[in-house]
């Protein structure tokens, strides 16, 4: 038996991502300064993106047994790797002001983020269920720590919010992984298939076992995208986590779940389970979001609802994967801008706060306000957030094309419900100064005095501008993304 040939070029993105983690570790040991650690993570993230583009999506798979491979480059995998790398660098930029304050140890923070990136890259390229689940766990495992990683200054009030958020996340996630593994095992027992390329629906007497396996697999993975009724962990976890980590959870971590689900539902018949999850997720996510008064909770519920739209495209099966992927990428960009704008509007290290705290913020800081409005409009699927509009069009297009018109109708009605809360936040940004009980000569002056102008830290500004640029470019030339995905 000859040694297995390994195509190292197609493994380049993984090498780059894993190398980044090692580089960060060394930088932390050797230099130990924030600039060095964060710099090496940013550099490694960029290298990962470049490697993914260089390696491309058309190479043959590697680690093969026969025709089935465990590492399968595809256009989707390459795009996902680039998005993961971009989000990692972006989240790092958002975290820099907090890291400067010392709310978290920079070395650990950057190392864990790099590990998570490695897991994300693996999920995209995974060619069998074990690699997929291991990748997903590698993506999630560092996040348990990141959510709870919070140091307090000597005089600061110590809260356990982050720790309890971390525990919630850990417990739910472990259970969901167990369910997904059970599903994979049942499916393997029934069909003997682990590689995604040979994953098929079973026939004959083992069919019920395989069907249960497929359903369990979908349900286990649906935890990761916080699909209703498996969503309860998301709002408290986002709320308890530091803002940049919440941004990572609602974008990169969710993308991992979407990729895993796409790999499964495009081969196994799980359309009805996925459709039910989709309808529940978008409807309940939107309805509950209507009642939220805290910024991060609102974004959490809205991101649950957005996952519902992605699930709707996945319910179609293989034909819906590119639409789901396109929607996911558009959504990641817009969601990242929303979080970046929130970080920019708040004090370094602060949480998202109440929505009423943002009253008039758009008038005081027009550029940051405009970025948040761009993101919210995009999430609602309206111009000026053209990227979001094309995302909605893509989903509705594929649903109607594949004969799922009723689901397209549900998506459309949900878009109307969603606009109600997006518009509420956007209007709050530009609302005039509130009337106070006592007589004040000029409420505007009082408001300005109560909200001193805070300059945006450079890394945050760069992340915000970068995200907005990507959103604008994708809005006017969505074909760039569609080309990259096919």
């Amino acid at each position: 038996m000859s040694a297995q040939a390994v195509d190292h070029v197609s493994l380049l993105p993984l090498y780059a991502a894993a190398g980044t983690a090692v580089l960060v570790l060394i930088a932390e040991l050797a230099v130990g300064r924030l600039a060095a650690v964060a710099g090496s993570l940013a550099l490694g993230g960029l290298a990962t993106a470049v490697c993914a583009i260089v390696a491309g999506g058309s190479r043959r798979g590697t680690f093969c047994t026969g025709a089935a491979c465990s590492w399968v480059p595809s256009p989707l995998a390459a795009v996902a790797a680039v998005v993961f790398a971009g989000l990692t660098v972006g989240v790092l930029a958002l975290a820099v002001p907090a890291l400067r304050l010392g709310t978290a140890p920079p070395g650990e923070f950057c190392f864990l983020l790099a590990c998570s990136l490695t897991g994300g890259v693996t999920v995209g390229y995974a060619g069998d269920l074990i690699t997929l689940i291991v990748g997903l766990e590698t993506l999630t495992l560092p996040l348990y720590v990141l959510v709870g990683l919070r140091r307090f200054a000597p005089r600061e009030r110590v809260t356990t919010a982050a720790a309890s958020a971390s525990i919630t996340f850990l417990v739910i996630s472990v259970v969901s992984t167990a369910i997904a593994l059970l599903g994979a095992a049942l499916n393997y027992a029934a069909t003997g298939a682990l590689h995604l390329s040979v994953l098929v629906d079973a026939i004959g007497p083992v069919r019920p076992v395989a069907a249960v396996g497929a359903a369990l697999l979908v349900i286990g993975l649906a935890f990761k995208v916080a699909a209703v009724p498996l969503h309860a962990w998301a709002p408290p976890t986002y709320e308890g986590a530091p803002l940049p980590v919440a941004a990572y959870l609602s974008t990169a971590s969710k993308l991992g779940g979407v990729l895993a689900l796409a790999a499964v539902v495009s081969r196994l018949d799980a359309g009805s389970v996925t459709a039910v999850l989709a309808v529940l997720t978008m409807t309940i996510g939107n309805l509950v979001a209507l009642r939220q008064t805290r910024m991060v909770r609102l974004l959490a519920w809205s991101s649950i609802a957005q996952a519902g739209y992605i699930l709707a495209a996945l319910a179609v099966g293989g034909a819906g994967v590119w639409a789901a992927a396109a929607y996911a990428v558009f959504f990641m960009v817009l969601e990242f801008i929303a979080f970046a704008a929130v970080v920019a509007l708040r004090a370094p290290g602060a949480d998202g706060g109440e929505i009423v705290n943002y009253r008039g913020a758009g008038r005081r800081s027009p550029w940051r306000g405009a970025a948040l409005v761009l993101a919210l409009a995009g999430l609602a699927g309206l111009p000026p957030g053209l990227a979001g509009l094309f995302a909605k069009v893509t989903i509705v297009d594929v649903l109607i094309d594949e004969g799922w018109g009723w689901l397209a109708g549900v998506v459309a009605l949900n878009a109307v419900v969603a606009l109600a809360y997006y518009v509420r936040v956007a209007a709050t940004l530009y609302a005039s100064a509130p009337r106070v009980g006592i007589a004040v000569a000029d409420p505007e002056l009082l408001e300005a005095a109560a909200n001193p102008r805070r300059p945006v830290p450079l890394p945050v500004a760069a992340a915000l501008v970068g995200g907005a640029l990507v959103a604008v470019v994708l809005g006017f030339a969505p074909q760039l993304l569609f080309d990259a995905l096919s």
Partner: protein, 504 residues
């Protein structure tokens, strides 16, 4: 020469967009200059618009006459091939009057803001939003691709929300929210309808789709229902009109003018161009229902107006009635009816635009819009009362003024259609027309005649320059269109013949 006209076509959209960006970027201390710059851009936009009709003479592409969409000039570039979206713009006799109206009303509104900025926000932001609205509305009228049409249709949503919520009256937040949610509900139905057509036909090109080419009867019926409800929300057609009175009452004057003048026309234009154009079998199938609803809208609008006690609210409800006549014209699916609808669109835009300007002027001066508190305006401000009288009489459809043709010929078309249903509808619409006269005369009696009330006695009778600037063109055009309706209808006969030719 064709290159020149293509540039002009794109410039119609690019100039206001550029203007909006420039105005929004000007610093706050240059607020007044920014508003003047916005007016300049709105005026510049009129130049390419004015150039467009000459393309007919210059000889644009000449397709076979069976096509309902035969643009004078067009631009067609692939944009998003994955979704079959083309950046396909074109202008023809059906869309041109509305394009000209949009350009004119935006210029007038921008000019109006130079003189007076409503309370609430900065004037330059308002002017920039007006220009963004213009881009959306013009794009909707120019689009010859279904998805592109939908895209531009959506562009106006948030800016209009911002105009109402930012510069409106006391209850503006609620009214704006109602407006945006209601119209988004219409838009998502439009998206479903558009996608149903695009996936069934494999193209979104309006030229290729005209006459319902290649669509089965079921698809056409489903698509027409989705599209008709979507456009009925925008137009608005009774019983989907309830967002309109609140939005109009709370919106600032310029917002009301744009909303009534051209935004509502996106609904009726869409119904003609896309509803009837793409799904003629569906249109023929649903026409009786549409006709009944239109007649109900005329009567409901008129009866509600008779009970209104607030000036802007009354004019808002009168729009429901007027748009009912337009929809009745469309529902007849005859050349006369469709032409009446096109004419009614333009006439309503001119007259109601003028009425909202005047209502705003009265409210600004008297600080109240309640009819009970107004009275005797002709004694304290004879000129204002005179213009108001002219606009009201034009709106009630006096022959010789613009309002007459659209409404009279909608009734004529329904009569010609024959049969008990359409005759009944024609009679009901005619009764509604009489009621329209009744409530406008009631309005005049309350506001201009009678003893002067305290609120009116103290008002400033002088009409400022910006006000004349905004009103005069509308009054002149109301008269011109009334005397020579061919100004609007000149180039509509062929497209309308082709459109009705595709009907079963």
């Amino acid at each position: 020469m064709t290159t020149f006209f293509r540039v002009a076509l794109v410039a119609v959209l690019v100039l206001p967009a550029l203007g909006a960006a420039v105005v929004a970027l000007l610093p706050a201390r240059l607020d007044r200059s920014a508003r003047i710059v916005a007016t300049a851009f709105a005026a510049l936009t009129l130049l390419p618009i004015a150039a467009l009709p000459f393309t007919r003479v210059a000889g644009g592409p000449w397709f076979s006459s069976s096509l309902a969409v035969r643009p004078w000039t067009e631009v067609d570039v692939p944009w998003v091939p994955a979704l079959a979206v083309e950046f396909h713009l074109g202008v023809d006799g059906v869309s041109y009057p509305l394009i000209a109206l949009t350009g004119l009303l935006t210029l007038l509104c921008c000019g109006y803001t130079v003189g007076k900025v409503p309370d609430g926000g900065s004037g330059r932001t308002l002017a920039a939003l007006l220009l963004v609205l213009e881009v959306g509305i013009l794009g909707t009228f120019l689009a010859l691709d279904l998805v592109l049409f939908f895209l531009f249709f959506e562009v106006v949503l948030l800016p209009m929300y911002a105009v109402i919520a930012g510069w409106g009256g006391a209850d503006r937040r609620r009214a704006a929210r109602k407006f945006v949610l209601y119209t988004l509900f219409g838009s998502v139905l439009l998206l479903l309808g558009v996608m149903t057509v695009v996936t069934a036909a494999g193209t979104g090109d309006l030229g290729a789709l005209s006459g319902g080419a290649g669509l089965s009867r079921t698809t056409q019926c489903v698509a027409f229902v989705l599209l008709a409800v979507a456009f009925a929300v925008k137009a608005p057609l009774w019983p989907l009109h309830t967002w309109l009175p609140d939005a109009h009452t709370e919106a600032p004057t310029v917002g009301s003018v744009i909303l009534a003048g051209v935004l509502l026309k996106m609904g009726t234009y869409g119904l003609i161009r896309i509803g009837v154009g793409v799904a003629p079998l569906g249109a023929a199938w649903a026409a009786p229902v549409l006709g009944v609803l239109a007649a109900a809208a005329i009567l409901a609008g008129a009866l509600i107006c008779l009970r209104q006690t607030e000036l802007k609210r009354l004019i808002a409800y009168s729009s429901v009635g007027h748009m009912g006549f337009v929809l009745l014209g469309i529902a007849t699916l005859t050349v006369t009816g469709l032409q009446a609808a096109l004419l009614g669109n333009v006439a309503h835009g001119l007259i109601t635009g003028l009425l909202f300007f005047l209502a705003g002027a009265v409210k600004d001066r008297a600080h109240t819009g309640e009819l009970a508190d107004l009275g005797g305006l002709r004694e304290s401000a004879p000129r204002l009362a005179g213009v108001l009288g002219f606009a009201a009489i034009a709106s009630l459809g006096l022959p010789g003024l613009a309002g007459f043709w659209g409404e009279a010929f909608a009734v004529v078309a329904a009569t010609r259609r024959g049969g008990p249903l359409w005759l009944t509808l024609a009679v009901l619409a005619a009764i509604g027309g009489a009621l329209t006269a009744a409530y406008f005369l009631r309005l005049l009696r309350r506001v201009t005649h009678g003893p002067a009330t305290p609120a009116v006695l103290g008002l400033r009778p002088v009409i400022a320059g910006p006000e004349w600037f905004a009103w005069a063109p509308l009054a002149v055009l109301t008269l011109a269109v009334g005397v020579a309706p061919a100004l609007v209808l000149a180039a509509t006969a062929t497209p309308m013949l082709a459109l009705t030719g595709a009907l079963p």
